[in-house]
């Protein structure tokens, strides 16, 4: 760049420092190796899986049952480990 060339003024610089897209546009689901699969015959709707999931990747359905959101689930296995009735199995994705 030559010295004569004008640098962009502050109005032309793209906005910095303000993240503006929801992270739900970034799917972390492809991190996982194993995915949680819920056996609804065993599930008691206690919702501990939803409570403990660090990623908010266990949604609650209309009928009150939990449902993994594989778009975001990272496969950590906490839900399966903590389910009091062992209704969640981690299976190869």
């Amino acid at each position: 760049m030559s010295l004569e060339e004008k640098l962009p003024g502050w109005k032309e610089i793209p906005i910095g420092g303000i993240p503006f897209k929801p992270s739900t546009e970034y799917k972390t689901g492809d991190w996982k190796v194993f995915k949680p699969v819920i056996n609804y015959e065993k599930c008691t709707k206690c919702l501990f899986c939803h409570i403990y999931c660090p990623d908010g990747a266990i949604k609650i359905k209309e009928d009150g049952y939990p449902e993994p959101d594989y778009d975001f689930c990272k496969g950590c296995g906490i839900c399966a480990e903590e389910c009091p009735v062992k209704a969640i199995e981690m299976v190869k994705d």
Partner: protein
Amino acid sequence: MAEKLTLKDIAKKPDLLMSGHRLCAGCAAGTIVRLALKATRGPVILANATGCLEVATTIFPYSSWKVPWIHNAFENVAATASGIEAAFRAMKKVNKGPLAKYEHIDVIAFAGDGGTYDIGFQALSGALERGHDFLYILYDNEAYMNTGIQRSGGTPRFAWTTTSPAGKVIPGKRKWKKPIARVVAEHEIPYVATASIAYPMDFVRKVRKGLEVEGPAFIHVLSPCTRGWRYPPEKTIKIAKLAVETCFLPLWEAEFKDGEIVYTLSAPSERIARKPELKKPIEEYLKLQGRFSHLFRPKKRDDLISEIQQWVDYEWRLILKRCGKL
């Protein structure tokens, strides 16, 4: 006040931390923040000291926060939160400005152990002394994780970190963990508590209480870190629970009332106080974590494990005394 929250109520509350953040799989910080935000009462403004939580939730151009959230430097989150609260009060007073219409605003500062025990301590202590009405949540993963597992004032003795490596001569960190929550309680602020996400409703109740009191509140919540503590990610809650069951992290609350700091044990620790045989040996907590593996391999170091046990017993006795149990 004191709306009684059940686990079902909490589960049904919408998540204010969105999915798609980039905390490691199994990172307790995600659970801590989700639960804390489910305990809020209405409008919320958050401030976040840099660290894993801040970085992983705001990787440009994405944000995981559904509520107003301010990034600030490593050392001054309590000052930023003070400013938010002061601005809110000023707007209320003159009934002008964007925040004037709110009855109350839940101002919460999140910071890691590096940002609290160490570099952020001055800002924290000042904010407590000035008496701002805000809640400070320390998520303690016991090292500077975001920059590669360096030891902090919150790292426990004999833990391996990259700046306290376990070698032939020195077996990990040499100093003890600073009793941060007690140090904060000595500021004579309305509310201080310790918490573990293995007891989610206890944690949620404490967050709510911290928001409800007038003036500063502080919650120290342990945040097991799969990378830095070196354990498989599904064990996060187990480890958070063992910390309480071994009394490594006794659960208590301290309220400053009528010129006195009144300590109370919380239910999970109260059970152990009543039935001491429930207290598990610290070894059970240590052996699940690779950062303590040099205490078990190649040779079991009973001498060092027993030193940690003595520290746990000493701290536990001290808390029992403060809580009027001894």
